[in-house]
Symmetry: C2
């Protein structure tokens, strides 16, 4: 025990980067989805994620779970991470198998490893506060707990799951608190009630736990996935990729929330203080995150404006002229141009489905 205190448990960060981000079409493509785009600032969201985590997890303890199409992009954008730690799922499964696989690989390196799980496509305005919370979460995880980070809700969002804490739970000090229940995406009325109640937090999709502890839970609740892990050869083995390809499809296609968290008993939550978390869910979210000019426009390109405001413009290499228009999303690509009312920014994914249905594969 004294040895552990002197030499803290190694923290590994696992970044989940298999998403498609269709709401960011036409910029986001199958081969270059949202997490690999510089939608906020000059570096991509995954680069910002890796950089933010580097204070706790240097590159040799960073892991990326992605798919075969995106692995090349991840290698390009994250050259600091050892290549073997950028892992492609042979087929798409949900978050639980990806996390289970990562846990299994970490465990090969270190039986005491703590792992944090992080989406690759979120934005955090205040990394210092985030890191302070994360350090506390790591301490809680050392007690063999499954730690879930909750975000104080800023509006009655119906697109997120919620974590219910005991009535009166406060985010001050970021102390762990028992989780009463996980709540699925609510309707608007329920979401409003959650926000007013004060003890409901957004489920951030960020988790911290010992690799060993999450694997124990997986063995208990997800035996098919556990079986796959058992059949896998070690990462260092030259047949690892083939072994993964042959076995991974047998994993449960389920999220970590449904697969483990809603069933496990050793869950603890962190009602986090507000560190400016944003899942950057649409172009409208980007508009809201970026500084506006006097007319309320946000632009990455030179614009000339007459009686026009409230718009987001991204048209590389072009001047964009807006005349008498309001609240638009304008995103120009070489082969496609999106013009969308800001209030409909969520519908862009439906648009991509439409393109898919029409067989316009080249535009996806």
């Amino acid at each position: 025990m004294t040895r552990q205190a002197a030499q803290p448990t190694p923290f590994h960060a696992v970044i989940l980067a298999g998403g498609r981000g269709t709401r960011f079409w036409p910029r986001s493509r199958k081969r270059l989805p949202k997490q690999f785009l510089p939608v906020i600032g000059n570096r991509s969201l995954i680069q910002q994620t890796a950089e933010r985590l580097s204070a706790l997890a240097p590159p040799e303890r960073l892991w990326v779970l992605t798919n075969e199409v995106l692995r090349l992009q991840a290698l390009r954008q994250l050259p600091q991470i050892p290549r073997a730690q950028i892992i492609a799922e042979p087929v798409q499964r949900n978050t639980a198998p990806a996390i289970a696989l990562a846990a299994r690989l970490l465990l090969e390196q270190d039986p005491n490893a703590i792992m944090g799980v992080f989406p690759s496509d979120h934005y955090i305005a205040n990394p210092a506060v985030f890191l302070r919370v994360l350090r506390r979460a790591v301490q809680a995880a050392e007690q063999d707990r499954l730690v879930v980070l909750g975000i104080p809700p800023r509006w009655p969002e119906t697109g997120y799951g919620y974590i219910e804490f005991p009535v009166g739970t406060q985010s001050r000090g970021a102390k762990p608190a028992p989780v009463v229940r996980f709540r699925e995406k609510p309707n608007l009325r329920t979401a409003r009630r959650f926000v007013q109640a004060g003890n409901f937090y957004w489920n951030s999709g960020m988790f911290v736990w010992r690799a060993r502890v999450i694997l124990e839970a997986i063995e208990r609740f997800m035996p098919a996935t556990a079986g796959v892990l058992e059949r896998l050869v070690p990462l260092a083995d030259r047949t690892f990729r083939r072994s993964l390809a042959e076995n991974y499809a047998a994993c449960d296609d389920i999220s970590i929330d449904y697969g483990v968290l809603e069933r496990a008993k050793n869950i603890v939550g962190f009602p986090c203080p507000d560190f400016g978390w944003n899942d950057v869910g649409s172009w409208d979210a980007v508009y809201n995150l970026m500084p506006r000019d006097n007319q309320g426009n946000v632009s990455r390109s030179p614009i000339v404006v007459q009686r026009s405001g409230g718009s987001y413009v991204d048209a590389p290499g072009k001047l964009v002229a807006l005349v008498g228009v309001k609240d638009l999303i304008v995103v120009d690509a070489a082969d496609a141009l999106l013009i969308c009312h800001r209030s409909e920014a969520q519908k862009v994914s439906a648009l991509v489905k439409l393109l898919e249905a029409e067989g316009l594969e080249g535009l996806l």
Copy 2:
């Protein structure tokens, strides 16, 4: 006289093509203005104009007055016209000197020549009716009259001049009628009165007269311009271009309307039947001239639409996705993208002035 009846007076068509058409930015540029663009159909407006007139004036009797920057484009687009008849004004003057110059050059070829004057950037939906009217106008011009074509007004336009005919004048039969007065661009109230009165017609900018007769009027009302014509060497002379360059600037900078028509006595008007004349004054005019799809969109590019209608889209080589937007003009070019509410399409020229003021010469 019998000889003239047997061999009709040769009709020459003079096409004025020096305009800039800034309201069609970003498609329209200094080197490729509106008249050279296929804004309606697949051929440019000037090509359509030349083709329409070819029934009365074969290529050897077609003349184009343009400027030095645009002459190359005119030569390219109108290869059927003898090169010498595509004439560049050395400096920009208004319509009166251009028409005077053309008249002088026609007269060199034929002392009896009748000339029609036509803008290069208008659209005529029903050329057969137009040609019928034009033939009658030529007959009236043979009586040494200055003939002005009037268009029956379809709305109280404040952007055009009007021709006032005697009360009760009808367009039926397209007979010439005396012109009571030319009226400058009216305000909306006056324009409404004109349209209701029924004896006010839009001044189309199309004229027919003998070259000799218009030159007599120019000598009388515009002595400076007449002096320039006197000093010019003949078109066939190899020093013609130098002679034009040295003298043309001394011409009066005035329109034919102010310079001649409002002062001459031998004017006669044609209250034309409606032959679908349109001066295609803005992108909104293009929208209104083209067939719409079920959502009321007009597009020259493939579009994918969700809850969007009433828009005009032109983005070569691209798919354009419209989501939740209405009544937009979208015109995409390599270096610029215009997004303009249809109701503000007239303001595009002000936008071009703004670009000019900001020194963005490369975009003009």
